[in-house]
Subunit: 167 residues, 2 copies
């Protein structure tokens, strides 16, 4: 077995996106069973100037699709960032997983030294592929998946670490 850039990115990202989707199913069920407007959860935050749940899911999926596309050197599909319901967030996650599924390992393996440039507002960040994956994508991706989980947990949805880690 060879440990590779693909192994460390696409399957790991897919796995966590599937776990996030399952967590959002539980959140939607919780809202329905308690007769709480689902928007309460979609717009919930841990602090006034933190992003709400919807944006956490958007950024997590952005990190995943951006990672695969940049490491493989293909265009990143643009999403409208307008999801406002659990169904729309699920659709976004499903589109992201379908995009990840379109990659073969050989498109991403060997990208350790690929030049990656991110333009974030006025900041230009430059990485080699390996540092981009390990020091940018994975911390950011896990940050937003965990924060989505924490927002729901803080708002009383009955989920646990097993839901986060998956099967």
């Amino acid at each position: 077995m060879t440990f590779s850039m693909y192994d460390t990115s696409v399957p790991a990202l897919k796995r966590m996106l599937n776990n996030l989707a399952a967590i959002l199913v539980k959140a939607a069920e919780h809202a329905a069973s308690k007769k709480i407007d689902p928007g309460v959860f979609i717009n919930a935050r841990l602090f006034p100037d933190m992003f709400p749940l919807s944006r956490q899911v958007q950024i997590a999926t952005d990190q995943a699709k951006g990672c695969a596309a940049r490491l493989a050197g293909v265009d990143i599909p643009g999403f409208a960032d307008n999801e406002a319901t659990f169904d729309e967030l699920q659709a976004r996650i499903a589109k992201t997983i379908a995009f990840l599924d379109s990659f073969k390992a050989q498109q991403i393996d060997g990208s350790e030294e690929r030049d990656i440039v991110l333009q974030i507002h006025e900041r230009k960040l430059e990485f080699k592929g390996q540092a981009y994956l390990l020091n940018w994508v994975l911390p950011n991706f896990y940050f937003h998946v965990t924060t989505a989980y924490n927002i729901l947990r803080h708002h009383g949805v009955e989920i646990g670490k097993k839901d986060f880690l998956g099967g």
Copy 2:
């Protein structure tokens, strides 16, 4: 450059532990400047049945030292899990980083197929080294570092994503 088990574990874990230490410095300064008992933050949680900040830091460091030790096949140093102040949490992080620094890449590289067995209460989890790192250590480690961040952010400490990601 060869992408390896060591690259994906020890330097990434160290990097995030240093970021976590810097975040805890800001939290201690915040407590001092607002004249809030530091224990309020050390014992803060996002939900009554979630772990407090101290335990989040303990588990994050456990994941880091357990990862390096198990992948290299050496004993895991035991810590007493009794940290109750910011200084004690910093000491735990520093001990963990010093332990990580004791590993050479060749002790961990090639551990993809090593058998790893975790005994968690009555559950016995068996992994190969690669799955242990990618599907267990990294999700768990990032979960607890992010949750430590989220607890502090939720309780008003002025930290941001840059503190989480580091330099």
